[in-house]
């Protein structure tokens, strides 16, 4: 029984981390219609900068937690203005390809700046302990992660459902032209959404690095996972992404526990299943 409880906690913390990482790519795709294939790169950049701040400059964890997401968000902003805005007229496929080329460029920049070895970030001292729950030792950092993740989910949900800002975003998801016609500066909305998406990527980068580490090539692994969650959850809702993240988190954790040889296959089979049975995802709306 206690083993299962441990797996439950693991699945939960993994799923919550997935949520933080994926929320960024989901809102950008939902609203801008652009599948940002450099999203994994932004996450990794967040991890690397976090590493430099925490491990090299010796700054406290919470400082990095505040500073890095904003830094990444600004970088995302610059990217949107310089690369995406001028190319809206080229169509969505072109923009996807642009972000893909960008991911390649980022890859080499990371190697040049931070080298090729795997880097490890230490969690904050206070959380670098194990907590006893029902006979299992669970790292306190993971518990903290679960709490943070749920808080973020609630915040995002509240923003989307209850604020005017959220209403604009929800409307923009359904009908961009109409929103523009109503007098809202749709380009400004786009930029803000990209800012927010990059912010989440950076936040995920700092939060995830004590668990996942940082190393070259990681951005593509993260990207694939995000795509799985994106597909399963569907577009346009925080709730959907949250449920999907937890689902994928649990499926991965439990399949690794029970049938490790098949765990890779099961995750993608889940993705394929959802795509065939319910292409719009669990809670999303159809995107043409």
């Amino acid at each position: 029984m206690s083993a299962l409880l441990l797996q439950l906690m693991n699945g939960l913390s993994y799923g919550v981390l997935l949520f933080i990482i994926t929320s960024g790519i989901t809102i950008v795709f939902g609203i801008l219609g652009v599948l940002n294939l450099a999203h994994g790169s932004l996450y990794v950049l967040g991890s690397y900068i976090g590493y430099s701040l925490i491990m090299e400059a010796g700054l406290p964890f919470w400082v990095a937690l505040m500073a890095v997401p904003i830094l990444i968000a600004i970088i995302g902003l610059v990217l949107e203005i310089v690369m995406l805005r001028p190319t809206y007229k080229l169509g969505h496929l072109s923009q996807v390809l642009l972000t893909f080329g960008l991911a390649y460029i980022f890859h080499d920049i990371f190697s040049m700046m931070w080298g090729k070895n795997i880097l490890v970030v230490n969690p904050p001292e206070a959380l670098n302990v194990s907590v006893e729950i029902a006979g299992n030792a669970i790292p306190a950092y993971r518990l903290a992660l679960i709490v943070i993740g749920i808080v973020m989910a609630v915040l995002l949900w509240y923003t989307q459902e209850k604020t005017k800002w959220g209403a604009v975003i929800r409307a923009g998801l359904s009908d961009k032209e109409m929103v523009g016609g109503l007098g809202v500066n749709i380009h400004f909305v786009f930029t803000c959404v990209f800012f927010l998406g990059s912010l989440m990527a950076g936040l995920g980068g700092v939060l995830g690095s004590p668990i996942l580490g940082v190393f070259p090539g990681m951005e593509f692994q993260i990207l694939i996972l995000s795509l799985v969650v994106l597909v399963v959850g569907g577009l346009g809702s925080v709730t959907g992404t949250f449920i999907a993240s937890l689902l994928v988190g649990f499926v991965e954790t439990f399949s690794r526990y029970f049938v490790p040889e098949l765990s890779l296959i099961i995750t993608f089979a889940l993705m394929a299943l959802v795509l065939v049975a319910r292409p719009q995802g669990l809670t999303g709306r159809r995107v043409a």
């Binding site: 460029i105 995107v287 043409a288």
Partner: protein, 333 residues
């Protein structure tokens, strides 16, 4: 005599004579380019002609390669039998994945092909007894063409591949202008309209998938004959991404575009990686430049040059080789 086939035959002659004045190193690079051209051309049928952007094409390459390799290791050394088995496997896989995927559109089609290809990758990686797992299949000996003619020399392999691709390109150029080819293009331009005319677009999409997958398997079979080796690396999604880049850079929707794209990428990778470790950055930058400034690929640049230089000349013969495609696909809207 029409200009298209003339150019093609001259090019073929040139390629036949290449081993006489280029060293074996360059002949081998050309062999690789030709094999990847077959791969890229097969993807182009899906992406360029039928408008289905797939990120799972490496699965068919892998199916053809592994099946051919296993056949060569266990059953026979006859090249037609081994590649034939490779083609059959690729066809079966294309049938399965195609039936699943063609129901989806745009982004979902992309993701579904990715997922299916990753499942195939995982099976190949895990099934160590059969596929050699992460170490791959190696030790695949040279095969025979007819009875005594053994492809033991790299130059012979080059000629075999050259003949195969020449035949393939010839058939495909005819196909582009056949009624079936036109249906594919129609589906890319406007699927709804095709449906309203009465075409069973799902069936045609499946056929397109089958053709593309089988030819992709052919590329895989040729690859194994050439290298004597195949590993799961070549079935990973980054391989699918790479061939997609080749098609897009070369010129999507054209006959020669994918060939040029394959040449471009192989030459870039081989030459640049000898000078710097940061070749990924260069390919990424090149890719971005192409997407922004040359969305119709190298072939597009070539066409633009031609039309500005020879503004008055009617480029009739171009239609034999190329059909201009719009950049829009199912991902818009």
């Amino acid at each position: 005599m029409k200009k298209g086939p003339v150019k093609g035959t001259l090019l073929f002659l040139l390629m036949v004579l290449v081993p006489f004045f280029l060293s074996i190193y360059y002949v081998n690079i050309l062999s690789e380019i030709l094999i990847l051209s077959v791969f890229a051309v097969s993807l182009n049928i899906l992406v360029g002609q039928t408008g289905l952007v797939s990120l799972g094409h490496a699965a068919f390459f892998g199916a053809g390669a592994y099946a051919t390799g296993l056949a060569a290791l266990k059953f026979s050394t006859n090249i037609f039998i081994t590649i034939g088995i490779g083609l059959i496997f690729a066809l079966l896989l294309a049938l399965i994945i195609g039936l699943l995927s063609t129901k989806a559109h745009g982004f979902y089609f992309l993701m579904l092909t990715l997922a299916c290809s990753q499942i195939f990758y995982s099976i190949v990686y895990q099934w160590t007894n059969v596929t050699g797992g992460s170490n791959g299949l190696s030790g695949i000996a040279p095969v025979d063409v007819f009875g005594g003619l053994r492809l033991s020399n790299q130059v012979f392999v080059y000629y075999f591949i050259l003949v195969v691709i020449a035949i393939l390109l010839f058939i495909l150029s005819r196909f582009l202008h056949s009624p079936l080819g036109a249906v594919f293009i129609g589906i890319k331009e406007n699927e709804e309209r095709m449906k309203s005319i009465g075409y069973n677009t799902a069936l045609y999409k499946n056929i397109s998938f089958l053709i593309a997958g089988t030819i992709g398997g052919l590329a895989g079979g040729l690859y194994v004959i050439f290298n004597g080796f195949i590993s799961p690396n070549d079935v990973y999604w980054t391989a699918s991404g790479s061939v997609l880049i080749m098609v897009l850079i070369g010129g999507v929707g054209t006959l020669w575009g994918p060939v040029i794209g394959a040449a471009f990428i192989v030459i870039l990778e081989t030459i640049i990686s000898s000078y710097t470790e940061n070749w990924m950055m260069i390919i990424g930058a090149a890719f971005i430049l192409f997407v922004i400034f040359a969305p119709n690929g190298i072939v597009g640049i070539f066409n633009n040059l031609k039309s500005t230089l020879f503004k008055r000349q009617k480029l009739e013969h171009e239609t034999l080789k190329m059909i201009q495609m719009k950049q829009e696909t199912k991902m818009d809207g």
